[in-house]
């Protein structure tokens, strides 16, 4: 069914049918993956912390479409979606959640700490905001090496109040580094709303005193994300320095699996779910544009559920890491002594 032909009218204008199908597929993969992770958590197969990305799928899907192979991605702890969007294997991601040998960090990292050198994915960071200057350092290395690579540095609305974010903004702007700061504003830093934590709630303005351009984007609309992402990435790649995108998005689940989300009303969640859901939204646009039928999308859902089931099976079958793994990858010198 998918085609390379460009869509010429309507909300999907400018994208190829292939692109749209890929966006839909990726967003659905992330959602089904996260639903399954939530189930595995409930069944006791995933322990500790597990922050689901459900609701925010359009952000990473649209941004990934705006970069090219070799560009880097770094993010915080709500990171499963980023990894799948980067093309990491759902099996390896799920097996890291269950703490098994087949996980991307052989079980040593868990939900918040996964990496893929092959896919230029730099984690997976559990300390709020700590990845922002690191992503800026990646951008610095790109410039030093004379490459035209760009680093997408994601962080949440909560992280925008961390001091080191502004240290990074200053350096990135001072040295015109190729970094795009993607603020995923899902309205709540754990249980604290943006209004209760931030003097300036329009987060895209946070770069003004560093002369960093910023804009607000509908983070529930993959096409809007892609369009804004392309502009920002082009800006950074062309040597003009950093760019800030504030993605207005929403997470349907609690902050983590142990969060009953009592700080917001059920109606708020229901309202966004029924009016702004990124997957449902794209589905209707695809059917309206006659580039997919209900039946085709149902078949795709089935296919994705099978991929996720395989990932879950792998994550449960993969053995626990050898206890000797506890002492490896700490310090090369100590291992040698």
């Amino acid at each position: 069914m998918p085609k390379a032909t460009k869509i010429t009218k309507g909300p999907l204008k400018g994208a190829t049918q292939d692109d749209i199908h890929e966006f839909y597929r990726m967003m659905l993969l992330i959602r089904r993956f996260e639903e399954r992770a939530g189930q595995l958590y409930g069944m006791g197969h995933i322990a500790g912390f597990c922050h689901l990305y459900i609701g925010q799928e359009a952000v990473v899907t649209g941004m990934q479409a705006a970069i090219t192979d070799g560009d880097q991605v770094i993010t915080g702890y709500r990171d499963h979606g980023h990894m799948l969007a980067c093309g990491m294997d759902p099996k390896g991601v799920m097996a890291e959640l269950t703490g098994r040998e087949g996980g991307y960090s052989r079980g040593k990292g868990g939900s918040m700490h996964m990496f893929s050198k092959e896919k230029n994915f730099y984690g997976g960071h559990g300390i709020v905001g700590a990845q922002v200057p690191i992503g800026t350092g990646l951008a610095m290395s790109n410039r030093y090496k004379g490459s035209d690579r760009v680093c997408l540095t994601y962080f949440g609305d909560g992280a925008t109040n961390q001091g080191q974010v502004y240290e990074a903004f200053n350096m990135a702007s001072l040295w015109k580094l190729p970094v795009v700061y993607v603020i995923e504003n899902n309205m709540y830093a754990m249980g604290t709303s943006v209004e209760r934590a931030s003097a300036e709630t329009e987060l895209y303005k946070r770069g003004i005193s560093f002369e960093i351009e910023g804009e607000e984007v509908d983070g529930m609309d993959v096409m809007a994300v892609k369009k804004a992402g392309e502009k920002a990435v082009k800006h950074a790649r062309s040597g003009k320095g950093p760019y800030i995108l504030e993605m207005k998005t929403y997470r349907y689940r609690g902050h983590s699996m142990s969060d009953p989300a009592k700080y917001r009303k059920r109606e708020e969640v229901d309202d966004i779910r029924s009016h702004r859901d990124p997957i449902e939204g794209l589905k209707h646009q695809m059917i309206d544009a006659e580039i997919a039928t209900e039946d085709e999308l149902k078949a795709l859902d089935k296919e994705i559920k099978a991929i996720v089931k395989d990932a879950a099976d792998f994550a449960l079958e993969s053995p626990e890491p050898d206890p000797a793994e506890l002492w490896t990858d700490v310090l090369r010198e100590a291992e040698a002594v």
């Binding site: 960090s105 050198k117 730099y122 300390i127 922002v132 350092g137 030093y144 310090l331 090369r332 100590a334």
Partner: protein, 338 residues
């Protein structure tokens, strides 16, 4: 062979690595144009250009994080933290990020960053320019911690740190930059000129990480020290007429317990020295490990001579500093213990 003071030796180490490895760069507050607060990077920007040796804004957290970002993408940055007392805004980056990425990525990424920082007192710096905070960093798995006591070791250890795939924190006892300091503030400033450890080869050589140096052989008591305290130990042992075996650890992580244990098994007595406060200082780790390894050889309680458990004072600097008198007293007490 050329004579160098410790600053020149450190500059030479960076010069060597900048010249031979394009992945190496040096940055930090006042590092580029100014040449470093103590002049350790002087001349390097002129030689290697401002893309490889440059100034950073005053933001220690982001300096360390930027270095880590670069290092994970294949570079070998040398980041200077202007005074060891300034490192704490970067503490989180060191603990949570820099030293853990190898572990939590199961070896996919490493962060070969070298952080250089001047430490220690003796220059009337007061509370925020005199600290020896090494113990905090020895408590972090995944970090090499080094502290040289002389120009030769300084250059060789710094090159080892830069060439290591592990992140390293390199403490430079600033009281030793210009000459060996034996703890007596009333003597004129000594010089590295004519000192055997002031002879420093021009090119690349390394001093291995995790190998201590026995700077004086002896049979009465083992003295374990590092940095400035190595020189205080030598002077105190001589003044007291004690035949001490003095060990310069050179690196705290990894530390050469084998050399220390062998010595204590021989002498049966041990005094540990450091300039940092006593409680939970690195001496506590050493004492614990030595008693585990040398219990049946010990003939006296292990003594520690350290800074007091107070902030580093301005007015009474030499009452705080564990000078020759305190060291000599501990040597005597330990040797005479029956």
């Amino acid at each position: 062979m050329p004579q160098m003071n410790m600053m020149q030796a450190l500059t030479s180490a960076m010069d060597v690595k900048l010249a031979e490895d394009e992945r190496v760069l040096a940055f930090g507050e006042d590092v580029g144009y100014f040449g470093g607060v103590f002049g350790v990077t002087r001349g390097l920007q002129e030689k290697y250009g401002s893309s490889r040796v440059f100034d950073a804004p005053i933001n220690e957290g982001a300096i360390i994080a930027m270095a880590m970002g670069m290092a994970t993408n294949g570079m070998r940055p040398i980041a200077e933290i202007q005074f060891a007392d300034y490192i704490f805004p970067g503490f989180d980056q060191i603990i949570s990020e820099l030293t853990r990425i190898r572990y939590r990525s199961a070896g996919q990424y490493t962060a070969p960053v070298t952080i250089r920082t001047p430490c220690g007192g003796g220059i009337y710096g007061g509370q925020t320019h005199s600290m020896s905070p090494e113990a905090f960093f020895t408590h972090i798995p995944g970090l090499v911690v080094a502290m040289p006591s002389n120009p030769y070791d300084a250059k060789g250890l710094l090159i080892s740190c830069i060439e290591s795939d592990d992140p390293a924190l390199f403490f430079e006892p600033k009281r030793l930059y210009n000459g060996p300091f034996d703890g007596d503030p009333n003597k004129p400033q000594s010089s590295w000129k004519d000192h055997p450890k002031g002879e420093v080869p021009e090119g690349n050589y390394t001093v291995p990480l995790g190998v201590a140096d026995v700077v004086r052989e002896g049979s009465d008591v083992t003295v374990v020290a590092y940095g400035t305290m190595v020189h205080v130990a030598l002077a105190a042992a001589e003044a007291e007429g004690v035949d001490a075996e003095i060990i310069d650890l050179r690196t705290l992580i990894p530390y050469d317990i084998d050399t220390v244990a062998r010595s204590v098994q021989k002498t049966g007595r041990c005094v540990i020295l450091h300039e940092a406060p006593r409680t939970s200082g690195f001496g506590a780790e050493l004492a614990a490990q030595i008693q585990e390894d040398c219990f049946y050889s010990l003939e006296a309680p292990i003594q520690r001579v350290t800074g007091w458990d107070t902030p580093y004072p301005h007015a009474h600097e030499w009452s705080y500093f564990p000078g020759q008198e305190r060291v000599a007293r501990a040597l005597k007490k330990t040797v005479e213990f029956a």
